[in-house]
């Protein structure tokens, strides 16, 4: 599980690329500084069921496990 958080964070371009991450019901809504650093295949490989990028906002669909993921992410950030 911790691995998943680390992989997601890396695929979002690392902590330095994160402005904020908002845990939602079935996914993460994150705002990044540079969307070009976001690695969609890596997010999918980390267990994302969908990735939508719109401007600086990246939505990552992960399902109800988002709660644990968010807790792990908080530790890493």
């Amino acid at each position: 599980m911790k691995d998943q958080a680390a992989n997601v964070l890396a695929a979002l371009g690392g902590v330095a690329n994160i402005i904020e991450i908002e845990p939602c019901t079935t996914g993460l809504r994150s705002e990044v500084r540079d969307p070009s650093l976001v690695d969609v295949p890596a997010l999918r490989a980390a267990g994302a069921h969908g990735v939508m990028i719109s401007g600086h906002v990246v939505q990552v669909v992960v399902g109800p496990s988002v709660d644990t993921l968010a807790t792990d992410l908080e530790e890493l950030m």
Binding site: V15, A16, I18, I19, E20, I21, E22, P23, C24, T26, E31, R33, G47, H49, G50, V61, G63, P64, A70, L73, E74, M77
Partner: protein
């Protein structure tokens, strides 16, 4: 200029209270002539009042027959239950007409949303959905064949969720996207509404744990449904810790105020939620 406005509103309020307290669905409202006499207003004023209530969905005009109390719309809460379950919960009897039930190779798009390889087999089901015999929606559903081998043996099943549960897969989460569009000629015919009427287009993916179970696209009659969405304040946002450190020893330092500043602004507003 004040008077006509007031008159129009008086007629409208009168009709609104008739609909709420005295008339039943399908009842005709009093004729224009009667309303003109009762309120001492012109036909124009009466029509204006009726128009407003038609737009609100309280009344419906039937060509050549008159104006009637419109059927109440169903509140459609987007949640993970099947069409049949939703209708039964409302005391209505669901039924379906199956247009297509076949096993086909997944197109690249379907493969992507169901997390398959293109060409893997999927079950495809195209149905018209009814509640108490009235058309409600048209729905196309795809699901991976390997999740439910032999699904169509003995005909298309009544409930896909039911069949999945029988096989130990209980869809427990998913996502919907909803948009409003005008119904195309084909769906209009299936739904029995004029072409160009408004429909709610729902696309849905469901999952059982990490397994993508179904993908569906439906068109719901907008005259039968309102979408009901429960709300909740956003959860506390996560922000990089180093941001906070930078902010505390920021002082009057000469850091270029670019995207970083935006980040701090977000953080401040975000932490207010907790």
């Amino acid at each position: 200029m004040r008077h006509p406005v007031l008159k129009h509103m008086r007629v409208r309020d009168y009709l609104r209270s008739l609909v709420t307290h005295e008339l039943a669905v399908g009842d005709a409202i009093p004729s224009e002539r009667l309303l003109c006499e009762r309120f001492g207003v012109s036909r124009m004023t009466v029509r204006q009042a009726v128009d407003a209530l038609v737009v609100d969905g309280l009344l419906e005009r039937v060509q050549g027959r008159g104006t009637f109390v419109a059927p109440t719309k169903m509140d459609l809460e987007v949640r993970l239950s099947s069409f049949g379950e939703e209708m039964r919960r409302r005391g209505m009897e669901p039924s379906s007409r199956v247009l297509v039930a076949e096993e086909v190779p997944a197109s690249p798009e379907i493969a992507d949303v169901l997390e398959l390889l293109p060409g893997e087999l999927v079950f495809y089901l195209d149905r018209v959905r009814y509640a108490d015999g009235e058309t409600m929606a048209v729905e196309q559903t795809w699901l991976p064949s390997r999740l439910a081998p032999g699904l169509f043996e003995g005909g298309a099943p009544d409930s896909i969720y039911g069949e999945l549960r029988r096989r130990g897969l209980d869809p427990d989460w998913g996502e919907d996207t909803v948009s409003a569009t005008e119904v195309d000629a084909q769906d209009a015919e299936l739904l029995g509404v004029p072409t160009g009427r408004a429909v709610l287009r729902l696309t849905r993916r469901t999952f059982a744990g990490e397994i993508a179970c179904t993908y569906s696209r439906s068109s719901y009659r907008a005259d039968r449904y309102v979408l009901w969405v429960p709300l909740r304040a956003p959860r506390r946002v996560l922000t990089p810790r180093e941001d906070a450190e930078r902010m505390s020893d920021d002082g009057a330092q000469t850091e270029t105020p670019r995207v970083g500043d935006e980040g701090r602004a977000m953080k401040t507003s975000g932490s207010g939620h907790s």
